[in-house]
Structures are given as structure tokens and as C-alpha cells.
């Protein structure tokens, strides 16, 4: 990734009980008995915000936070299924009021116990507008959120009425509406508990966090490294098998890769694009190629009159069929992506292969026919807006070539200098025709890929897409009585998308990474994070 990498959403914690050992006997020394006291280093970037759980939404800070904190639940890195951590159980009878029971014995790194009030205080503080937390909208399901976080102006309360502490180990969460999969959201780092000491000096705390996670904070040398060590009193199911993690700051992935090859860095995030063709031969069985819960799409400006009429859906279906996903992922993207067949990424709970149907299959003849039937592309010319700092140029050009050659529609990329400029154009509805978009899972559930993106008026619905059928199906799914029913409900909602085609699914992201000869038992989860606590450092 170039210096200005695409913004990625870091989410939940990564850790696991059982892992597929991807490379126990690595190249040189073979498998040796691991030393649980030794630390390993991980490629990182300087956090953009203070280290507060609800303020870390980029990889640099998010990765550190998810190791320092542990919430009620997290996701098993090998299966992406939800599992209980601080919570003993989370019960609900109506998908609206959740009774949370905590396990006894959890401690913060400063020795104070983790009690119900630590969660409630943390959530109240994080949700309040005046505390400027970037992830505050995560709490919007909870009743009383509008009081601490009105759409504009100052909050009228500091506590959400939906949160009630029963005793040290019990609290209840009442939501404003029924959300059957609410517990899935609880794995996000914003829902971490905070120790009492935090509230005395939140800013100072952001430089020196105290959490309850598998690792405790040791030091932060700005722009150089963040050092953590394993927390002896950690109560989670994923006890660290190593002595700690050193997050080393790199400004380019090229530099990190050079260090990885010479064992000056142990595990990295993504190999640089320049090494995609060679990293498997460079690293041998220490190379990693794992699926990620993230998708790349081309979105359309349905709010423009040219694209609004219902028959233009055919044009979008046709354009989708004119893109040769297989060839582009193999050649231009060098196998770092996998062609998409649905709007939900592979490996996510509720993923249904082929939801896009024939429309995601390459068929130039059918493509031309559909575009003609739909009255053609406005002006017979398509522009795809993207940010030039994220390594997107190559594939946008390839997609355009594919469309031009197979349909005769003129197609051009419209690069914006950087990510924030492109986002400003997209959210400000200043885009003409089509734009690059994508979604990285917040939690591995299909609802996240659908409800947050395609619902009428959803925060990330940049298309102006509005389908009563979809909204109806989504609302019904939200009100289901179990997660399994929700998942099925959202699969029905996803089935509405092919007919309107607000966005063309292109491909799923993959983790292309590797590790040094000093460590073993490295596996990546669908968030693109290694299973931190399971990494073994050779003795």
C-alpha cells in the first residue's frame, strides 16, 4: 500500500482458541518450541487519534486498542463466529431489551475489577457529542441516544436512558427499536469497558491507555513504536502465547516488507503491491493468502435524473456483465482479490454465493443487449470517480477497458487527488455517473453489508438508492427473534438488489501477507488481523 493507504475499518478483536496452523515448520529452522515470554513485532502506522476505544477507527490505532481492550464478546478468528468474553451471557426475549451478565474476576491492567458500571459509563461517555468520539454513532441503537447525541446542538443529558446497572455483574440495555443482532455489534472496540481512572483525564489516558485486554500498555514512542506486554491476569478464552506485541511504525509497506524478509519485523499487514507477484516465492510457507470480509464495488448516482428511471437498472446489469472479473483479478490485481458473486463478502455469516446471479458473470453479448434494452448509458459515456492515492487506477482502467471493448460504451476513470477529496465529492453528490466504493465489515454478519449501505437514507447509502421492497425486508429481518432468522431475512433483502443494481459488486479483498522466520502459528482472521495471542515466538 502506498503511504496514503485506503482507509480501512478496524474492528473487533482477533484471537482464537483453535487455529489452523498455517506454517508450523517454517523454512529455515523448522518448528522449535516457542518461548511464551518473547515479544514479536507487527507493522503499524502512527495512530491518528488518541488511544480511546470509541475514537479508533483506522488501522493504526484500532489494532492497538483491540489488544489492550476486550469487550463483552468477540469473534473467533478461525470461524468468524461470535463468542463470549467478559459477558457470561446476553439474554433477550424481545430483541429490544438485553440482559447482560458479566463473568466474575476480570480486571483492568491497573488491578481494578471490570464491573457493569465500567461498561455503562464507557458507553455513555463515548456516545456524548461533546466528547468528540468518532465512533459515537455506534451507540445510536440504544434508547436515549438522542439525548446525549442530538442531530445538532448540545446534548441535553450525559446518560442514555436505555442503560441500567443492576449490580456489579449485571446490566440491561434497552434499544430504541428491535435489533435482533445487537450482540454482534458488541464485538466492536467502541463497546469496550473503561476503568474509573479514565474519566478523570480522558485526554491524558488517550496517550497512556489502561484496558482489560490480553496485552497491557508499556510505552508509546511517537512515530516509532508502541510496546505492549502480555497481561498476567487476563481472563479471556484466548490467553497470550507470547510475551507481547511491539507495534513498529512504518510509513511505506515496501520498507516493512524489506524488514520482514531480513527478520527485523515479524508479522506484517499487507505486502506492497510491488511484491504481490513474488511474495509467495520469497517467503515460501511463511506467505499468507487469506480471505477478508471486505468488498469492492462500483456505485451509481441514482440521485441523478439520467440514472433514476427504473429501466436504467438494465443498463447497470449490462455494465456489470461486461466486466471480466476473472481476468482482471488474475492479471491486473495479481490474485490479490477474488471475483464477487454477491453484495456480502465471502466468509461473513449469511454470505450467499451467487446472490448477484447471472449479472455478475462475464457475458459480452448479453451485456450489450441489456444496455440497449435499458436505453443505453447516458451520453454513451461512463466516468468512474476514484481516489488516486489508494492504488485503484490500475483496476479502474482495466474495468473501463473491459466495458469499452465489450459494449462500445466510452468509459473513463475520474481520479480525485486523495481519499478525502473523493469522499467529499461522493457524499456531496458531486459525482457524475459512477464511483468506486467498498465496504469492510464492522462485524461479520450479512446485515452489516446490507442495512448500513442499501437502506433508504442509510448513513453510507451514497447512491441515493431507495427500494421499498429492500427496506421492508430489512426491517422485517431486524425484528426477527433470533440471529439465524435475521440472517435469513437479510438474504431475502439481498435478493432484491439484482433488480435495482445500485452498485456492481466487483471482488472480495484478501490478506496477502507473511511472517518472519522467528515466529510461527500465524493466521489471519476475516478482519485482516492476525490472531494476535496465538502467535508463537521461537525460543
Amino acid at each position: 500500500m502506498p503511504v496514503a493507504a485506503r482507509a480501512r475499518w478496524v474492528l473487533a478483536a482477533a484471537t482464537s482458541v483453535v487455529l489452523v496452523a498455517t506454517g508450523c515448520s517454517s523454512g529455515g529452522g523448522g518448528s522449535s518450541s516457542p518461548d511464551a515470554s518473547k515479544t514479536f513485532s507487527y507493522q503499524s502506522s502512527e495512530p491518528q487519534n488518541p488511544l480511546q476505544p470509541a475514537n479508533a477507527n483506522e488501522v493504526g490505532g484500532g489494532r492497538i486498542i483491540q489488544n489492550l481492550f476486550k469487550g463483552l464478546v468477540d469473534y473467533d478468528p478461525s470461524t468468524a463466529k461470535i463468542r463470549m468474553q467478559v459477558a457470561d451471557k446476553i439474554d433477550t426475549s424481545d430483541s429490544q431489551t438485553f440482559n447482560v451478565t458479566l463473568k466474575d474476576g476480570w480486571k483492568f491492567h491497573d488491578g481494578t475489577p471490570v464491573h457493569a458500571k465500567n461498561f455503562v459509563d464507557s458507553w455513555n461517555w463515548s456516545a456524548t457529542t461533546s466528547n468528540n468520539q468518532i465512533n459515537s454513532s455506534w451507540f445510536s441503537d440504544i434508547e436515549g441516544y438522542k439525548d446525549v447525541h442530538p442531530a445538532s446542538g448540545q446534548p441535553t443529558a450525559t446518560k442514555m436512558s436505555g442503560l441500567t446497572v443492576v449490580d456489579d455483574l449485571h446490566f440491561t440495555v434497552k434499544l430504541a427499536n428491535r435489533v435482533s443482532y445487537f450482540e454482534y455489534k458488541l464485538g466492536y472496540i467502541a463497546f469496550s469497558p473503561l476503568p474509573d481512572a479514565f474519566f478523570n483525564d480522558p485526554a491524558g489516558y488517550g496517550q497512556k491507555p489502561v484496558g482489560n485486554g490480553p496485552y497491557q500498555f508499556v510505552s508509546w514512542t511517537h512515530n516509532t513504536q508502541v510496546v505492549t506486554k502480555a497481561f498476567a491476569d487476563y481472563q479471556g478464552v484466548d490467553k497470550p502465547k507470547n510475551g507481547g506485541i511491539v507495534f513498529k511504525m512504518y510509513t511505506t509497506s515496501e520498507a516493512a516488507y524489506a524488514d520482514l524478509q531480513s527478520s527485523n519485523l515479524d508479522v506484517m499487514d499487507q505486502v506492497p503491491p510491488s511484491a504481490l507477484a513474488t511474495y509467495k516465492s520469497d517467503l515460501g510457507d511463511r506467505a499468507i493468502d487469506a480471505p477478508q470480509g471486505a468488498i469492492q464495488n462500483i456505485g451509481f448516482t441514482l440521485y441523478q435524473a439520467d440514472w433514476a428511471s427504473p429501466d436504467k437498472a438494465k443498463v447497470r446489469q449490462g455494465l456489470s456483465m461486461a466486466i471480466d472479473r476473472d481476468t482482471i483479478t488474475k492479471t491486473v490485481l495479481q490474485g490479490s482479490r477474488k471475483p464477487a458473486t454477491a453484495w456480502v463478502a465471502e466468509g461473513v455469516e449469511g454470505y450467499k454465493s451467487g446472490a448477484c446471479g447471472d449479472f455478475c458473470t462475464f457475458d459480452p453479448a448479453k451485456a450489450k443487449q441489456l444496455i440497449t434494452e435499458g436505453g443505453g448509458v447516458p451520453g454513451n459515456k461512463l466516468t468512474i470517480t476514484y481516489n488516486a492515492d489508494g492504488g485503484h487506477k490500475e483496476w479502474v482502467d482495466a474495468v473501463c477497458n473491459s466495458i469499452r471493448q465489450n459494449t462500445g460504451v466510452d468509459c473513463l476513470g475520474d481520479p480525485k487527488p486523495d481519499f478525502k477529496t473523493a469522499r467529499a465529492a461522493i457524499t456531496g453528490h458531486q459525482v457524475n455517473g459512477a464511483f468506486r466504493t467498498g465496504w469492510v465489515q464492522d462485524y461479520p454478519l450479512n446485515a452489516n453489508f446490507l442495512s448500513d449501505v442499501y437502506r433508504t437514507g442509510a448513513a453510507s447509502n451514497d447512491f441515493g438508492y431507495s427500494s421499498p421492497q429492500f427496506d421492508q425486508a430489512a426491517t422485517k429481518a431486524d425484528e426477527a427473534s433470533s440471529v439465524a432468522d435475521t440472517v435469513a431475512g437479510y438474504q431475502q433483502a439481498e435478493a432484491v438488489l439484482p433488480s435495482g443494481m445500485p452498485a456492481i459488486p466487483l471482488w472480495y479483498y484478501r490478506t496477502n501477507s507473511g511472517y518472519s522466520s522467528k515466529v510461527q502459528n500465524v493466521a489471519f482472521d476475516s478482519f485482516g488481523n492476525p490472531a494476535w495471542t496465538q502467535v508463537e515466538v521461537k525460543g
Binding site: 502512527e46 447525541h149 511504525m249 520498507a255 524478509q261 527485523n264 487527488p417 457524499t427 467498498g438
Partner: protein, 308 residues
């Protein structure tokens, strides 16, 4: 002399105000909204955006922002970055690293550049001269990032003498390789400038006089020839010091040196006004001081130059 220096220092004041204002306006006109960008691909929450903008004074018109910034600056407050770190802290971290790197590169280009230029200037047309000319031509024609990757591959990956990137940016010995790469281009210029200058002065009257007086060759070269030939070289070196400090972004990126270049690049990307203005202001002061020193050095080198 004293009044000259005073005048020059006083001239720095309007330059200081002008540059801070210009840089401030430039950062302000960069496209995109920095606070919305903090939310990444997620939809930004308008209430939080407004609240953060208020915190960083970004909800005010640009002239008010500038006055606010300058007001704080005169109280020694460089502002705060989005990470919540004071900009003075960021600079206190980055500048020592960059100063080390720049000085190492500077010494390298000064010593080796002068030596090469002297050798080839004194022996024009010799094999040494041709060798220096070819070598410097090669260095000038290869972009610095290519040199950096070649050096990284040879000395780190193949020979294993050093680590591919700098593990501790404050360790001088680890900065040697990046410094050589960084200084190599200027080295070529210094060598060529010295060579030309020496070649011209060799034919000057005062050298003929010195030779006729029967002065030893060593004295002629060091006291008369080199001293008089240094003026163009010193002019170049003076401005180069500033360039080495602010312009090392590529080299710093490849060797992962956590210096000013990287911080500046990131700050511009994030449109972090206080950080950009703070760093650039310091760089401007470095330039101004360096050029003052160059002017004063002229008088030392050439006694005919007097400042009143």
C-alpha cells in the same frame, strides 16, 4: 558587520509573517474536509464533525483562524494535531532525527565532494578527472529513489552489513546509509562546481604571482586557490542544507526514518494545518539563517568583501 547582521535578522520578521500566512492559506485551500476524512469510508456524523471543528477552531473564517494561530504562536503554542499531541512535541521528535540525517549527508557531500572536485580540477584531463566526471554524471542522472533501493538491496539484503531500514532513527550509525544516498546528488554538484571553479582560478593572475614568488604548492592550493574557489560552492551548500532537511521525504520513506519529511507528508495529506505551518515555518527559518551564514562566510573567504 554587527549592524549588517541586525538588519538581516530584522528582515526575517516580514518574511516570517509572509510565509506563515501563505502556508496557512495554502493548507486552507487544499481540497477536502480534514474532519470528515477522519471518519474514512464511513458516513461522518454531523454533530461530531461540528464539535471537533469547534475544538480545533476550524468553524471560524480563515482570517480568524490565522489570527488565533498566530496569537497562540506568540505564547509558544504551536497548536495541536488531530492525534491530540502538541505540534511542538511532534517537532521536538522529528527535527533531531532530520538534523542528524541532514548533517551527516552534509558532511559527506562537503568532504568527499570537495576532495573529488579538487583532485579532478587540479588534474584536468587526467584519468582521475574523467573518472570523477563519469561518476558524478551517473549519480546526477539516477533518481534518488533508485539509488536508495539499489543501496538497500546491496548493503542490506545481499551483504547484510546493515538492516534494510533504520530501526532506531536516533542512532547515528544507522543513519549513515540513508545519509550517503541523500547526499549523493549534492555531492556530484559540489564536486563539479569545485572542479570548474578551481580550473578557472588556476589561470588567475594571483596564482601565477604566488607560483612566481616560489611559494610551496601546498600553500598555493590551500591558502590561495581553494579559498577563492569556494565561494560558488558555499553558496550551493548553504541552500542545500535547507533542501536536505525538508526534501528528504523519499529517502526517509524508503529507509523508514521518522523525520520531518514523513511527518510533513502525513500532515499535508490529513490537512493538519498547525503541523504543516509549524514545520514549514521552522524550515523557512533554517533557510534564512543558512543564507545569512553563507553571506557572512563570503567575507571570511574573500577579504575584499566587507559588510557595513
Amino acid at each position: 558587520m554587527g549592524s549588517y547582521v541586525l538588519r538581516r535578522v530584522l528582515q526575517m520578521i516580514p518574511v516570517f509573517f509572509g510565509t506563515t500566512l501563505l502556508i496557512f492559506l495554502m493548507v486552507y485551500t487544499l481540497p477536502g474536509d480534514p474532519v470528515t476524512a477522519l471518519f474514512g469510508e464511513k458516513a461522518a456524523d454531523p454533530a461530531v464533525v461540528a464539535s471537533i471543528k469547534h475544538q480545533y477552531y476550524l468553524d471560524q473564517p480563515v482570517w480568524k483562524q490565522y489570527l488565533h494561530y498566530m496569537g497562540n504562536l506568540f505564547q509558544g503554542d504551536f497548536g495541536t494535531s488531530f492525534t491530540g499531541r502538541p505540534v511542538s512535541d511532534i517537532m521536538a521528535n522529528a527535527f533531531p532525527v532530520t538534523i542528524r540525517l541532514a548533517l551527516l549527508a552534509f558532511v559527506f557531500e562537503l568532504v568527499l565532494g570537495l576532495a573529488l572536485g579538487l583532485v579532478s580540477g587540479l588534474r584536468r584531463g587526467s584519468i582521475q578527472d574523467t573518472l570523477v566526471l563519469v561518476l558524478t554524471l551517473v549519480v546526477i542522472s539516477i533518481p534518488v529513489f533508485v539509488l536508495a533501493y539499489i543501496a538497500q538491496t546491496i548493503f542490506a539484503t545481499n551483504l547484510g552489513w546493515v538492516t534494510p531500514t533504520v530501526q532506531d532513527s536516533r542512532d547515528l550509525s544507522q543513519l549513515i546509509l540513508p545519509a550517503i544516498v541523500l547526499g549523493s546528488l549534492s555531492l556530484a554538484y559540489v564536486a563539479r562546481l569545485t572542479r570548474t571553479s578551481i580550473g578557472e582560478n588556476l589561470r588567475a593572475d594571483y596564482i601565477r604571482t604566488a607560483v612566481a614568488k616560489g611559494l610551496p604548492r601546498r600553500t598555493i592550493v590551500s591558502r590561495h586557490l581553494l579559498r577563492n574557489s569556494l565561494i560558488p560552492v558555499v553558496t550551493f551548500l548553504g541552500t542545500d542544507l535547507g533542501a536536505l532537511m525538508g526534501g528528504a521525504i523519499v529517502t526517509e520513506g524508503i529507509f523508514n526514518v521518522q523525520g520531518v519529511g514523513n511527518v510533513l507528508y502525513r500532515a499535508i495529506n490529513q490537512k493538519e494545518g498547525p503541523t504543516v505551518v509549524g514545520i514549514v515555518t521552522v524550515l523557512v527559518i533554517v533557510y534564512l539563517v543558512a543564507s545569512l551564514l553563507v553571506d557572512l562566510l563570503y567575507a571570511v573567504l574573500d577579504p575584499r568583501i566587507r559588510y557595513a
